[in-house]
């Protein structure tokens, strides 16, 4: 009898609690946006941290203007510590438990590729504000509705810019590729080979190294022997720093171009401020790019004095702005309707640029090679590169 009673009591309790969860009065007035990105673990964690600052700033700005559909935006933040299982878990939690309307993230392409199927099946729009792998937005391109969008650099596009620069800068037409053996490095190598082939150029050396290697002198010795005067590094910031350190050891300084991983402080911490200035890398924006960027940078630095990479803060900010505009246009938080609204957006003012029809059925990249520029470290800050070679680049050079 006592058992029966307690079972009844328990089930009564369960019913009331589940009811309590089902109709939280507050949630009616809120729209939740998830944020799932590495903010602590890998070499690109700084992009996740700065991205979060931008994400929060955009939510503040929208709420200051009365929110969306008369409801407040609320950010639900998760750190995936760069681990795919954790990232998948976060994604399920955000969608199933937190009932977010959309997700911004992640930082690591590998994590995105691990969970893309979840938002796609559950019809929750995702804007990747950092991860750059070409395949992220392309995987579900053929589906009736593709829920994955991006406001970030795309590997293929940034490599196209690097290749175009390398070809203008080389005097000997001897270009080499160095890349780590991770999926990222190998995909970059493949993209680079294809892009260089469009220019009719075959790299004189293609060298690999392990992601944890600290001495690349033997690989660089072969690059040097092949006579390369421009080297493109398809690796994350830490590895590019080790490439620079090995170049210093050999006193061999060809032009070194790298992907936007170099925008993170591990490059400058590991290679040192002087050596870090020797690589030129691709970036979508810099803190001095336009008035809106200057204003946002000032505001974020006041709040977070140690804010690293501004670039992902701008991308995180713009991602939220686009989601908010889509929810307003759809007049709903229903994933299917928001996805359609994203593909039919009108003008939205962002930090990086004023977006005008940023997405369509076939185009899920808000930014393209025309929006990117080249940057480098100078006295501990990231600045735009504006030399003769950059000025001579034309649209026709950006083959991809």
């Amino acid at each position: 009898m006592t058992i029966l009673l307690s079972r009844r009591a328990l089930s009564a309790l369960l019913v009331t609690t589940s009811l309590a969860f089902a109709t939280p009065a507050l949630a009616q007035n809120e729209i939740k946006i998830g944020y799932n990105a590495d903010q602590s673990a890998s070499g690109v964690a700084e992009l996740g941290i700065a991205g979060l600052y931008g994400f929060q700033a955009a939510i503040e700005d929208i709420n200051a203007k009365g929110g969306v559909l008369g409801r407040k935006l609320v950010g639900v933040v998760r750190d995936d510590i760069a681990s795919p299982p954790k990232s998948i878990q976060n994604m399920n939690e955000l969608i199933d438990n937190e009932k977010v309307a959309a997700v911004v993230g992640p930082t690591n392409s590998g994590n995105a590729l691990a969970w893309l199927h979840i938002p796609q099946q559950k019809k929750i729009p995702v804007i990747s504000h950092v991860a750059t792998a070409t395949d992220i937005t392309a995987r579900y391109l053929k589906e009736p509705q593709n829920y994955i969008f991006r406001v970030s650099m795309v590997d293929r596009e940034q490599l196209a810019l690097l290749a175009a620069y390398a070809i203008k800068a080389t005097k000997t037409k001897n270009i080499a590729i160095v890349a780590d053996t991770t999926g990222y490095g190998q995909a970059a190598t493949k993209d680079l080979l294809e892009i260089l082939a469009l220019h009719g150029i075959k790299p004189v050396a293609i060298e690999k190294f392990g992601p944890k290697d600290t001495d690349m002198t033997s690989q660089l010795a072969k690059v040097k022997a092949a006579g390369a005067d421009m080297v493109i590094s398809g690796s994350l910031g830490d590895a590019t720093a080790q490439v620079l350190k090995s170049m210093e050891k050999m006193d061999y300084y060809p032009g070194l171009l790298s992907t936007w991983g170099s925008i993170n402080t591990p490059l400058i911490n590991i290679a040192g401020p002087k050596l870090a200035e020797k690589t030129i890398f691709a970036a979508s924006t810099t803190e001095d790019a336009n008035d809106r960027a200057i204003a946002l940078h000032k505001r974020l630095i006041a709040k977070h004095p140690n804010m690293p990479a501004f670039v992902s803060a701008a991308q995180g900010y713009d991602a939220v702005m686009l989601i908010a505009a889509a929810i307003a246009q759809a007049n709903s938080t229903d994933g299917e309707k928001v996805q359609q609204a994203l593909e039919n957006l009108g003008k939205v003012q962002g930090i990086i640029k004023a977006y005008d029809k940023p997405f369509s059925k076939e185009q899920h990249e808000a930014l393209g090679v025309a929006d990117f520029h080249l940057a480098q470290w100078k006295d501990g800050r990231v600045v735009k590169v504006d030399n003769e070679i950059v000025k001579s680049l034309t649209a026709a050079d950006l083959k991809r």
Partner: protein, 305 residues
């Protein structure tokens, strides 16, 4: 030619680290016929404790990046001594938790218990320091010394110098001192050693302390080259273990030789094809094990069945 010289310089520094850790495997294997399979995890507190001490001394939180100005040879030396002492103390805990319950009992329980202890240690470090890597400046500065065109960093010279002195020092201790005699006696026959009045357990504990300290020292030495992080240990320890097997687990000089051999092979094969390094090393290990099961300098093992 410069490229080969460059590879030799890089290989020697790397080899010295392998040799140092391999020596740690030797010293406990000799005394207990067990060793710490989780040795790689001991590099982690070795480097992180030292770096945190330096950060705290500079008035910063325990986690962050060190500025080159906050690193002097003296402060680096003191931090290294402190972290060697702390990791040595962890060695005592290791002995009581993961070795003593299983030693002499036969079976492979100690293999799993030491691996488990290492995983516990690594995850504890993950909880304290987080997963990101910390850039550590070298106490000798970051410029490059040039020898006949090949560049070598002062830290690499420091690694080789410290590692070789520690190896030579330990070699002398083992061969010349009363403690060394006791150690060898325990290694040869623990029962007989106990009968002649040697405190076997004390010797064994000291062996584990030395072994762990060596890993701690290695962690602190390589931090300026690899950065300090929770994930530095595993790859290095696996190579060190291979070095011990190739050189001879029972012979301390063999372990050092194995370390240098592996470091040099790794660097020189890298000159040819980077992705062939691991293949070459592990092929070599298999060949050595087939031809000389005890390793290059190891005693010919006669297993009684």
């Amino acid at each position: 030619m410069t490229a080969i010289l460059q590879a030799l310089a890089s290989g020697l520094a790397l080899g010295a680290i392998y040799g140092l850790i391999a020596l740690g495997f030797n010293i406990t294997y000799a005394t207990t016929k067990t060793f710490n399979f989780g040795q790689g995890a001991f590099l982690v507190p070795g480097s992180l404790v030292g770096v945190s001490l330096l950060l705290l001394a500079a008035g910063k939180p325990h986690w962050g990046n060190l500025a080159p100005s906050e690193m002097t040879l003296l402060s680096y030396g003191l931090a290294t001594l402190a972290s060697v002492a702390i990791v040595g103390a962890i060695g005592i805990v290791l002995y009581y938790c993961a070795i003593k319950p299983f030693v002499g009992a036969g079976g492979l329980n100690w293999v799993l218990s030491t691996i488990g202890f290492g995983i516990i240690l690594q995850n504890a470090a993950l909880a304290v320091w987080g997963p990101a890597s910390i850039a550590v400046p070298s106490p000798l500065g970051n410029e490059v010394w040039r020898i006949a065109g090949a560049g070598i960093r002062p830290q690499e010279v420091l690694i080789a110098a410290v590692a070789i002195s520690v190896m030579v020092g330990l070699d002398i201790v083992i061969r010349k001192t009363r403690f060394g005699k006791a150690l060898r006696a325990v290694a040869f026959n623990p029962q007989a050693a106990a009968i002649v009045g040697i405190n076997v357990e004390k010797i064994v504990i000291i062996a584990f302390v030395i072994s762990s300290s060596l890993a701690g020292l290695a962690g602190m030495l390589i931090a300026p080259i690899t950065t300090a992080s929770v994930f530095i240990g595993l790859g290095v320890a696996l190579k060190a273990f291979s070095a011990a097997i190739v050189g001879g687990l029972t012979n301390p000089r063999g372990c050092m030789l194995g370390g240098f051999l592996l470091g040099l092979i790794e660097a020189l094969v890298g000159l040819w094809r980077a992705e062939m390094r691991e293949i070459t090393i592990f092929l070599l290990i298999i060949i050595v094990l087939v031809l000389r099961p005890g390793g290059l300098l190891g005693a010919r093992s006669v297993e009684k069945i």
